[in-house]
Symmetry: C2
Subunit: 209 residues, 2 copies
């Protein structure tokens, strides 16, 4: 290799960050910076212009998805490898849509991580097997693909708190009929038939919680 691949690692868990950095350095990569939140990550990337950003999605303050969006807005050519614990639908979809180059779960074997970083630097897309499966099944089944609208999420959040349709209507300054309509759409989109199941599905998909 001519010059080593330059990397910035962003994760709010110090232990995980140390682990990733250690693994990458041992493999001859050059880790030029580490960040504990999204804002730091953005600053470091702008300053150091690394080849790859290894990014955790769930971070305090500026989250991972927002980091990706801003980088793409800046038309940065950096490769973003998302390395996270969760593979909920909304996380994965949001990250890919935002423009992540790769998506790896933290339970991936070390060699996979190393290879993923290399591929990301080369601009290739890498996905964890679990993530790939999830995406594939999502494409196959056109049913429960739909995302909830902002208003629908708002309603569902209140439902999860035990709020009654009438009370939701009052809180949102709409009629009870409207609330019912929203709920009906929510049920359709989530593929359920009642509010309890809707809440459960929402948690499973990372929409709530």
């Amino acid at each position: 290799m001519s010059s080593p691949i330059r990397i910035v690692v962003a994760d709010d868990h110090p232990v995980v960050r140390d682990g990733v950095v250690g693994v990458l350095r041992a493999q001859g990569f050059e880790v030029v910076g580490q960040a504990g939140d999204g804002a730091q990550a953005l600053a470091l990337v702008e300053e150091l212009e690394p080849d790859v950003l290894v990014l955790d999605l769930r971070m305090p303050g500026t989250g991972g998805v927002e980091v990706i969006e801003r980088l793409r807005a800046l038309e940065s050519r950096i490769g973003v490898l998302v390395l996270t614990t969760f593979d909920t639908d909304s996380d994965v979809v949001a990250a890919i849509e935002a423009g992540a180059t790769g998506y790896l779960l933290k339970d991936a074997p070390t060699p996979d991580l190393v290879e993923a970083v290399r591929a990301t630097a080369a601009g290739e897309t890498v996905l964890s097997p679990a993530v790939a499966t999830r995406l594939a099944s999502r494409l196959r089944s056109p049913g429960p693909t739909a995302q909830l609208s902002p208003r629908e999420r708002e309603v569902l959040t209140l439902v999860a708190r035990g709020t009654t349709n009438r009370a939701i209507a009052a809180k949102l300054f709409v009629s009870e009929a409207t609330v019912k309509t929203h709920l009906g759409h929510i049920f359709d989109k989530l593929g359920v038939t009642d509010r309890a199941a809707a809440v459960a599905r929402a948690y499973d998909r990372g929409i709530l919680g």
Copy 2:
């Protein structure tokens, strides 16, 4: 120090495991073994008799809580430091009750981890601030302290799937009246008033999902 503290690290995430091991070795601890699941952890502890087991709770197969229980059953004097991502009620309570010596979240700063291992080896109890707060508030509020009975969890699981009271009764071979009674108790214990909110609370506490 006379002889270094001997440690086994158990975590199913290779990256995290490497991170923890790296940090501990850099601090002069002797990491004598690493495990990727509970069964391996138990075997290593029995074979190597380390001073401290650094343990992730969520692992495939034999989970962390079960590992702790078995160690205590064996009357092992090993210190168990739980190091995990989650601080849901059920995880924390289960781990402490099982006999964990300490409970640290993965977002803890590196120096805290090092100090926690040292304290654990000395038999002292260490808790993450977040965990300590959670436990304290639990002790303060005698209300939502109660755990669900097995039967109640069973009912709630079905509720989360959108199952109707009547259908639940059929599935569990009891009358609908019984299901309603269980649900009433569930609502009381979780401090909610309807099934949707009960499901949400259960997810928040790690009872479901």
